[in-house]
Symmetry: C2
Subunit: 138 residues, 2 copies
DNA sequence: AGCTCACATGAGACTCAATATCAATAAAGA
DNA sequence: TCTTTATTGATATTGAGTCTCATGTGAGCT
């Protein structure tokens, strides 16, 4: 199933319509690659002469995130960034260089296991987590 | 050394003045206990008839955080919360209940070690980290 | 204690990401 | 094609946080 059919199905499941704008936002974020905020996505689409509004970008991104097509990333600068979850792009956390702003992805099995364990130990179930390492080049 | 003398010394080291407002913000956050945002601190002080401005609360909190007297916590709802670091209140991370909003502190030696290791492995030095577990009661 | 002045404060303007409003538009089933 | 109802776009609004600047005040100096 191609990725736009997947979008269509997800939207239908939620009772949403499959509109050109939603397709454009989704395709744009995938084409751009990496981590981007709504303003960047909006500018990119505008730059291509696309007819889309800021409000629609924000609304669409919210829907995509809620349905797990994209992943939200907040690094503490007051701007939410998003990345497309491609097939085979499994869960990962982020390392942010405080000097360059570079975002590096990492994944560690043991780390994941420990978190489940800690939640468990306190009588909770782990739903999701935010884990960011702020680093600088050695 | 009592905690207000400590505040005084820290301010002097940075070339800042030891003012009633800075003492009030610091004392208020300690008295309240737990995690609070600037607006709550401001309201609390106002409620006591104290003469203090919103701007000063924000400015003071920033100074306290930069000097390690308090710890900043962002759970992703667009409001920064702070907690006083008491003596013997060592580093910890947070578990946030998505149903009640409760904030539980946790600390795990192994987790800390792993993070250093991961940064290292990528050629970086770990400066600080943000680690939050969003959980719900089992 | 009084003087001085650079730093701090308070009130309100301002910023900026994000959300809400609402008339006009367009999916999508009949 | 028609009709219904969600969606869109333009813009206003919100809200946390920051900035400005005239006024106030800590603290070193005499």
């Amino acid at each position: 199933m191609d990725t736009n059919t997947k979008l269509k199905q997800i939207l239908r499941n939620e009772g949403f319509r499959y509109t050109p704008q939603r397709q454009m936002v989704w395709n744009e974020l995938r084409n751009m690659g990496g981590h981007h905020d709504c303003e960047e996505i909006y500018d990119e689409l505008k730059g291509k002469g696309t007819r889309v509004s800021r409000a629609t970008v924000y609304r669409t991104i919210e829907v995509l995130a809620r349905n797990g097509l994209i992943r939200k990333l907040e690094v503490g600068d007051g701007v939410a960034r998003y990345e497309a979850k491609e097939d085979g792009n499994h869960h990962h956390d982020h390392m942010i260089c405080i000097e360059t702003g570079d975002i590096i992805e990492f994944y560690n099995e043991e780390l994941e296991r420990l978190q489940e364990e800690i939640a468990e130990k306190h009588g909770y179930e782990l739903v999701r987590h935010v884990h960011q390492l702020f680093v600088k080049k050695k």
